[in-house]
Amino acid sequence: MATGIRTNELRKVYHSAPPLAAGGGGFSFAEKRSKGKQPKPEIVALNGISLDIHSGEIFCLLGPNGAGKSTTVGVLTTRVKPTAGEAWIGDHDVWKEQSAVKRLIGVVAQRPNLDFSLTAREILVFHGAYFGLSSHERNHRAAALLERFKLTDRADQIVRGFSGGMMQRLSIARAMMHDPQVLFLDEPSAGLDPQTRLLLWEIIREYNRSGKTVLLTTHNMEEADALCQRLAIVDHGRIIALGTPTELKASVPGGYLVRVRFGRHSPDLFERLQALSGVREVRAAENSGADLYADRGGSLVSEVANLALAANIELCDVHISEPSLENLFLHHTGRSLRE
């Protein structure tokens, strides 16, 4: 059965620091009881997220830290109760039919949440048992996954001593253990070396080829670009853009972004920059800077330099970006994803 993911106007408001199930923060705070005098601080983690992820697609939520990616995954995996809105996995309402939903999903959390009292093999085998696999089946699958994720030589050791990368690989193997229809991966490649990242990408693609839906979150544009069929860019709990990587990149005016910084601010110079051929949009940036969205990159630099020279304004810095998701994020939010 093909299984997609849908959400409708999901909202989540926290009244204290987001708890750990949402993947937010590294510490838990005891909830402070206010006595009706001070209103509790409200943190809006999700502010109306509506998604329709098709069955069998690799979909990516791209956004900076704290954008609401993990909370979205938390809601979709039954771990976070939404303040308002609805979510479905296939035909099942996530909040009302939790057990049915949990059968369909595999989840890789942002931080390894392995059962530290068990060995790597036991983690997989017990996970299979929780999902009702027969003894033969779970042993067989555990062995195959350990092999696939290059963990066989450490299979019978307690996982407490594992490196971060090994824990991450084991978390992914565990999520695949019961062959879920939908796989959630929350920042799967954070902390992985480039080689392991490539292995992970290959495994995700292979899993997807068998008809499974994959939802992954990342703040890494290259990963989103390389892996996803469609993606949503999320910021401050809202979706600010949605489409295929190619569509989204094409939606940036011109595509190229030339970021320049001058010695001083001059509205007159900005007007002349705007008039350059190929320049679609000029936006003022911090420190007397300007962001030029244009359909060409390098060839624009000499013309910008000439204009600055003519206006007797020093050109301090130039940076050219080719069409990218980063440009798109910057265009929508005025901030860099990396900030």
């Binding site: 005891a30 109760k81 017990f126």
Partner: protein
Amino acid sequence: MNYKAFMAMLARDARVARRNIVALLFQTFLQPLMFVFIFGRVMVGSGYMPPSYKSLLLPGIMALSMVGTGIWAVAMPLIGEFQFTREIEDRLLAPMDISWVAIEKVVAGTLQALAAGLMVIPFAWLLLRPGVDLSLHRPILFAVVALLVAVFSACGGLALGCSVEQTHIGLMFSLVVAPMIFFGCTYYPWSALANFPVMQKIVLVNPLVYASEGLRATLVPQFPHLSLLAVFVALLGFNALFLTVGLRQFHKKAVS
């Protein structure tokens, strides 16, 4: 309820317990048996305590071992597994209602408490004999009391484990567990508090009192003890209360 997942989680807990069996045995029996030795052998042998104290002490030690084991077996793993490593997550994501994950912990804790209670009797008896006068005339009543005590310890462990942060474990023991033990009529019968009438009333809010007195009533009925009816009613009430509070706290911790 998903029977397979539930049994798999019990099997998981059994595997972990078996792996830590030596530490578990020390943790369960060392303190109670040292108590038995000092009070039952040293104090009685030197004449500071009457010989009959041996029989009086044993049910109290049994209650203490059971309650200590049950609370520890449920609370400590929960406190750890709900910390930032979120080890419990794989069980919360198993295809069954998350309340059953909590109930599985209670069942595992109950079984451990029963094992501790039943094993401490022969150990203590060996340490104390001769002169221990146990009479198991009403085995079914004894079994019911023992079961209620074990369930109480596990439900108490659930409520505590889901209410206490890791940084407050020490406080939990010094503020909750230690007073509960000392005012739990484990080393003396409830009637011995007759000289302190106010305290005798106050300690009735302590569930361990009913555990100790219940085991005393069914193992050494020759000593004064609370009525079994009071013991049943109180333990059932505490079990229901701790289970309700524990499940509520568990949900709060599990879902944000």
